[in-house]
Amino acid sequence: MDRRLISVVGALVAVLVFFLLIVWIGGAINDSLKLDETALLRFLFVIIGLLIVFGVYWFTRSSGVWEVGTRQVVYMAIGAALYAVFSYLFNGTVFAVPSVSQVALRPAIAIPMFFGYAFGPAVGFFTGAVGNMFGDALTGFGLSPQWSVGNGLVGMIAGMAQLFPNKKKGINVVLIVSAVLAAIGVLFYALNTGQANMMFFDPDQGIFGDATITWFAGLSVLIGFVLVLIVRFAFGQNIDVASAVTWSMLGNLLGIGFAAISDIWINGFPLAVAIVGEFLPAAGPNLIFAAILVPILVAAYAAVQRQTGR
């Protein structure tokens, strides 16, 4: 490990330890010395997320997937800019975004997934994290850095597909892991069907993230999973498409899961609220968009590659 990396990881760990000391020791000495639930904890989770990224990098550094050359630098910038522009355009303030059964049309997530899958985990992480940051800045949403890191993880994990030389084997492992995660999500929904969908806003109907979650939104992870499964087997011949959608699915489940679960501490949500109110209505629709748009992007990019011979 080169010295710069050691110093970055060292600094991150030091800040993490400092925060934990304040929480545990400080809290035990003085009751009022608690971390503010909304602001400081966000940064704590950014650090935890970045440490996860460094950990994954450290264990897979010998493979060439993390290499950043001229091409990757330009793709990072393109991906982040496209993600920022699309999330700004489709966040509901520029166009009236239609919604079907509490699922609004937010297709931008396909960008970090596709860039991660096509150009590697480093490009994917940059696309998701920086794109989300600039997208939020364009809208004026302020800052939810833990969601930026979560979106970065989506792109990074989609890019981990390149670690498996045998794509079929990788797909099978990913499908099993995703099936387990989707099943856990559905189980939570089944136990908490009365929970409000906190990701759904419709001012015309007077709904501000307080409507009871619909069965479609609650089961959207399952629906997305089935859709991915259909794409995987319908495009069995085109292993690239199959691999792209399955890895994107895993990235989405883990990345959005990270952000939603961090809200348990940041916003003080109970576990069931974080999963049913936030994770399912965010991650499930993303899976549907991914299953439809990522294959189209992969096929279109393959055509460009054939044409230009790169």
């Binding site: 630098v73 982040a80 800019a81 496209l82 522009v85 004026g140 302020g142 439809i292």
Partner: protein, 290 residues
């Protein structure tokens, strides 16, 4: 072809600082604002934002669309909070009623009503101030940061050369792709495509977005070959990078950075000892009969 943000050299407070110093101040300001719900601490931050806006030298004509967008967004969220009390529930346990507004009509036998409470009103005010401060400081940045300095600014903030250059390209590409999206949308509309009237179920609607998203994305990737070639021809990433422009901290920049760090440390300290929570004035409670 690249499209740029509306930067031009101006004689203004914000542009009299080194861009690195200003970005450090901006991030400290944003972190401080996010720590507070207490209106007494949010108002000084609002004052900083207002001074910056009024001395920015950006005319209403140049920035009209951005301000209208932000204004609509901020008011929408404050109104949403006020009408529903959503978002505030984590900040107060008990509400003191001032009055209840009842609509003069009924919808299917249901009469819309709004409970106006002290806590809800204070929360909506705090949120208005907080979101406006952060959003207005953010939109000033593209107007006042010189595009030729993006790369060296991020490098100067400690990012590695390649990542600094990727950040520079990202900021330069955003307006370009917004333009490309508009061109693609117009071209597809000329062929009878209607974004406003997407029909069918969710799956059909997502599929119908492909004629917008795929051309913009694939065109961006295909067009990037020219940029990659140009960078390779100049031996990008072979050795440590030199930058055409150099930045030097002057005294005023150092002062600004020190102030920014003090602001964020003081905010963190105040929030740790419990001054960050929603503040409800005692006289308002007394007035509401609490």
């Amino acid at each position: 072809m690249l499209v740029t943000w509306r930067y031009r050299p101006r004689r203004s407070l914000i542009q009299s600082f080194d861009p690195r110093a200003w970005l450090i101040f901006f991030f400290c300001f944003m972190a401080s604002s996010l720590m507070f719900w207490d209106l007494r601490f949010l108002l000084p931050l609002l004052l900083i934002a207002l001074v910056t806006i009024l001395t920015s030298g950006i005319t209403w004509r140049e920035s009209r669309r951005a301000w209208l967008f932000i204004g609509g967004f901020v008011l929408f969220f404050a109104l949403l909070t006020f009408l529903t009390g959503r978002g505030g529930v984590e900040h107060y346990a008990q509400e003191h009623l001032i009055t209840t507004l009842r609509a003069p009509f009924t919808l299917l036998g249901w009469r819309p009503r709004v409970d106006v409470t002290v806590e809800r009103t204070m929360f909506a005010c705090s949120q208005l101030v907080r979101v406006f401060s952060v959003a207005s400081m953010t939109i000033l940045i593209p107007y006042s940061l010189d595009p030729t300095l993006y790369g060296i600014t991020f490098r100067g903030l400690g990012l590695p050369d390649k990542i600094a250059y990727a950040m520079e390209l990202t900021m330069r590409f955003i307006p370009t792709y917004a333009r490309d999206f508009q061109l693609t949308l117009d071209a597809q509309r000329a062929r009878g495509y209607e974004l406003e009237k997407l029909r069918g179920g969710l799956f059909a609607q997502v599929r119908k977005l492909a004629p917008l998203i795929v051309p913009v994305t694939i065109h961006a990737i295909a067009a990037s070959e020219d940029i990659i070639d140009a960078m390779d021809l100049r031996a990008f990433g072979v050795g440590p990078r030199t930058w055409l422009q150099q930045l030097r901290y002057r005294r005023r920049d150092r002062v600004l950075i020190v102030l920014a760090v003090m602001l964020v440390v003081a905010s963190a300290a105040l929030s740790l000892v419990g001054y960050s929570r929603l503040w409800v004035p005692a006289w308002a409670l007394a007035w509401a009969g609490g």
